[in-house]
C-alpha cells in the first residue's frame, strides 16, 4: 500500500511532554517538516531555550544545544560564526525572548545575525505555572496578576515583531498563528521564508507564533484556539512586518 502520510523525519521518536491542546507540538512539527522539505535537516543546528520547550533538543532530529534563559540568540550567534554555512535557529518562548532575553534578541537582530528566531508567544509563563509574561494582555488573569493585568501597575504588552521590525538588521519579520489549517499553512510558509532568508545570507529572520496554553489559561483546547482569535490577534495582529516584498 502506498504511504500517504508519515511523521516527519525532522522529529525524533521521543514523545512530546506538552499539555493537551498546547500548540507547541504543531509548531515543532511544521518547523521539522519545513527542514525536511527544504532538505536542510542535516545542516541545521537548533538552540533550545528555557521554559516549556527546554528539552526540545530531544525532539528535533537535527543537532541541538540547550541555552541559558534568554541567551539563545547569543548562543546561536556563536554557532553561526563557527559554521556560517549551517542553518541556525532558536526556539524561544515569551518569557525567554521578550523578558529576560530582550537584550540578546534585539542585538542579534541589530547585528543582522544570519539566524532564524522562532518566537512562541502564548501570553503567559507556562513551565513555571502561569505567571504574567511581558506579552500578557491587559486584564488577563495570571498567577502574578491575579486581578488581571493592570497597565497602571504592570505596564503594557510588548509587541516584539513590531519592535524588531524597526531594526535594519532584521530583514524578515512575520507574525503567524496555528489555530486552523489555513493559518498553519501560512505559518509553514513563514518558516520556509525565514530559512531561505538565512540561506541567502540576507540577515536576521524572525517568526512569531501566537500559541495556546490551555493549562494556564484555564481553558479547553478548542476555547483556547478561540481565545487567540478573539483576544490575542487584536493585540498582536498577524502579518509581515518586514520583508513583505523580499523575494527569496
Amino acid at each position: 500500500m502506498a504511504i500517504v502520510f508519515e511523521k516527519t523525519k525532522g522529529l525524533t521518536d521521543k514523545p512530546f511532554h506538552y499539555c493537551p491542546g498546547c500548540t507547541h507540538g504543531i509548531i515543532h512539527r511544521i518547523i521539522a517538516e519545513v527542514m525536511c522539505e527544504m532538505n536542510i535537516l542535516d545542516d541545521a543546528i537548533g538552540v533550545s531555550s528555557v521554559g516549556c520547550t527546554y528539552n526540545n533538543y530531544e525532539y528535533f532530529a537535527c543537532d541541538m544545544v540547550q541555552a541559558a534563559h534568554g541567551r539563545a540568540p547569543a548562543v546561536a550567534t556563536g554557532i553561526k560564526r563557527v559554521h556560517p554555512g549551517n542553518m541556525v535557529f532558536t526556539y524561544q518562548g515569551d518569557g525567554d525572548l521578550a523578558s529576560i532575553g530582550t537584550a540578546e534578541i534585539v542585538h542579534a537582530a541589530a547585528r543582522g545575525e544570519k539566524i532564524c528566531a522562532f518566537f512562541v508567544n502564548n501570553a503567559v509563563y507556562g513551565m513555571t505555572s502561569g505567571q504574567m509574561a511581558p506579552t500578557t494582555l491587559l486584564g488577563q488573569v495570571t498567577t502574578t496578576s491575579p486581578f488581571g493585568r493592570d497597565a497602571n501597575l504592570q505596564g503594557y504588552p510588548i509587541n516584539m515583531s513590531e519592535m524588531l521590525a524597526t531594526l535594519q538588521g532584521a530583514v524578515y519579520v512575520e507574525r503567524v498563528t496555528v489555530v486552523d489549517f489555513k493559518s498553519i499553512q501560512q505559518a509553514k510558509k513563514a518558516i520556509a521564508k525565514a530559512f531561505r532568508v538565512q540561506q541567502h545570507g540576507l540577515g536576521f529572520a524572525f517568526v512569531e507564533f501566537l500559541s495556546t496554553c490551555p493549562t494556564n489559561w484555564g481553558k479547553d483546547p478548542v476555547d483556547s484556539l478561540q481565545w487567540i482569535r478573539e483576544n490575542m490577534i487584536p493585540q498582536y495582529p498577524l502579518g509581515v512586518f518586514k520583508g513583505k516584498d523580499l523575494e527569496v
Binding site: Y57, A67, A68
Partner: protein, 356 residues
C-alpha cells in the same frame, strides 16, 4: 625561541590566543583589559577568525558557549565586574562540558570598585561564583612571558578536559610591558570533537549539548562524572614555582604580580641574614596543596607568610594545606595599592623576631 619583542600583557594574551589556534573572540569593553579586544579586532579577521563585540558580558559568554558547542577554539576576556556577569555562563559551560578560555584581568572591588590591580577575585575564580558543583582550572601567571606560555597552554587544557580555563591576571600584568619571546611553532593539541554541533551530516544520531538532567539519578551520575574529571585535573595539572625553599625559615606564598614584589624581598631578607623562600602557585585551582604541606612538615620551616592584593583569600587554602603545623601569617593590600618591598620586609623581620 625567536627574537624578544617588547609587548603589553593584554596584547600578549591576544597574540598568544591566536597562536594557540583560537579563532573566535567575543567580548565587551572594560578597563583594564580592553587592549585584548583591540588586538583581536585588528588581527582576528586576518587570522581567518571572527571577532564580535557583544552587547554585554552575558551575551559574550553565551556566544562563547555557542561557538564552543560548535567545536571552535574560543576566548572571552573581561575584568572583575564583567566576570561576575559571566558566572552564569561558566556554570552552564561546566555542566555542558565545553572547552573555553576566559581571561580575568582583575581590578579592585567590590561593586564598580576601581580600575587598578587587585586579587580580590580569588574566591570567585577558585571556589565557583556560578551555581552548582563545578570547577574551573585557574592559572595565575606572574610575567608577560609566562602570560604568553600559559595562555597557549590554557587552550590545550580546555580542550583536553572539556572545561573552562581561566587566566587570572591583574591590572598590572595586563597593562605592563615586558620583553617576550614567541616560539616558532606553538605546541597546539586539538583533540577530535565528535560531540560538537556541526550539522548532523552523515551521522546516524543528532548531537545534543545540554546541562539539564531532570532525573535525579541522571544528574547525580553527571555530577560524579564531573567530580571524577576534577580529581584527575587535581592530580595531574598542579603547577607552581618553588624559590629558595630549601632550608628557609619563612616561606612566602604569593601569586601573580604580588609574587614579583616578594621575589625581591627574598633577596633583601637574605642580605640581613633571614632565610626566606617562596612557593608561588601558578595554578590556583588545582592548588599546590601537597607542596605547601610538605614545606610545613619540614622542621626548619618556622612560619608562612601569605601575601595577596586582597583581604586574605588564598590564605584560607594555605592554612588548609599547612593544617595547623606552623603559623600562617597574612599581609594584604587592597583598592589597587601594591605593598612596597620595605613594607613586606618589615613583616618578615617581625615574624623572624617573634619566632626567636
Amino acid at each position: 625561541m625567536s627574537k624578544r619583542v617588547l609587548m603589553k600583557g593584554n596584547e600578549v594574551i591576544a597574540e598568544a590566543a591566536i597562536r594557540a589556534g583560537c579563532r573566535y573572540y567575543f567580548g565587551y569593553p572594560i578597563t583594564p583589559q580592553t587592549e585584548i579586544m583591540h588586538y583581536m579586532a585588528l588581527t582576528m579577521n586576518k587570522a581567518g577568525g571572527t571577532f564580535v563585540q557583544a552587547e554585554s558580558e552575558v551575551a559574550a559568554i553565551n556566544m562563547v558557549y555557542g561557538a564552543s558547542a560548535a567545536g571552535g577554539r574560543v576566548l572571552t576576556s573581561s575584568s572583575s565586574p564583567g566576570i561576575s556577569l559571566k558566572q552564569e555562563g561558566f556554570s552552564y559551560i561546566a555542566g555542558a562540558e565545553l572547552p573555553a578560555v576566559v581571561v580575568n584581568i582583575v581590578r579592585g572591588g567590590p561593586g564598580l570598585g576601581g580600575i587598578l590591580p587587585a586579587q580580590g577575585d580569588y574566591f570567585q575564580a577558585t571556589k565557583g561564583g556560578g551555581h552548582g558543583d563545578y570547577r574551573n582550572i585557574v592559572i595565575a601567571p606572574a610575567s608577560i612571558q609566562e602570560l604568553y606560555e600559559m595562555t597557549v597552554e590554557a587552550f590545550n587544557l580546555a580542550d583536553k578536559y572539556r572545561m573552562l580555563v581561566m587566566i587570572l591576571g591583574d591590572g598590572t600584568l595586563g597593562q605592563m610591558m615586558e620583553p617576550v619571546s614567541f616560539r616558532e611553532k606553538e605546541p597546539i593539541v586539538i583533540p577530535e570533537k565528535p560531540w560538537a554541533l556541526t550539522g548532523r551530516k552523515d551521522r546516524e544520531e543528532h548531537n545534543t549539548i545540554q546541562s539539564i538532567y531532570i532525573n535525579p539519578d541522571d544528574l547525580e551520575a553527571k555530577n560524579i562524572e564531573l567530580q571524577d574529571k576534577y580529581k584527575v585535573v587535581s592530580r595531574d595539572e598542579v603547577r607552581y614555582e618553588e624559590l629558595n625553599t630549601e632550608g628557609a625559615e619563612i616561606i612566602i606564598v604569593a601569586f601573580g604580580t604580588c609574587s614579583r614584589i616578594c621575589r625581591n624581598v627574598i633577596r633583601q631578607a637574605s642580605g640581613i641574614g633571614i632565610k626566606v623562600g617562596m612557593i608561588r602557585p601558578i595554578t590556583l585551582w588545582p592548588f599546590p596543596t601537597e607542596v605547601i604541606a610538605a614545606a610545613a612538615a619540614k622542621p626548619e620551616t618556622r612560619a608562612f607568610l601569605d601575601v595577596e592584593l586582597n583581604a586574605g583569600q588564598m590564605v584560607e587554602d594555605v592554612r588548609l594545606a599547612v593544617n595547623g603545623k606552623k603559623p600562617v601569617h597574612f599581609y594584604g593590600r587592597m583598592g589597587g595599592n601594591l605593598p612596597g618591598q620595605q613594607e613586606l620586609l618589615d613583616q618578615i623581620i617581625k615574624i623572624h623576631e617573634e619566632g626567636k
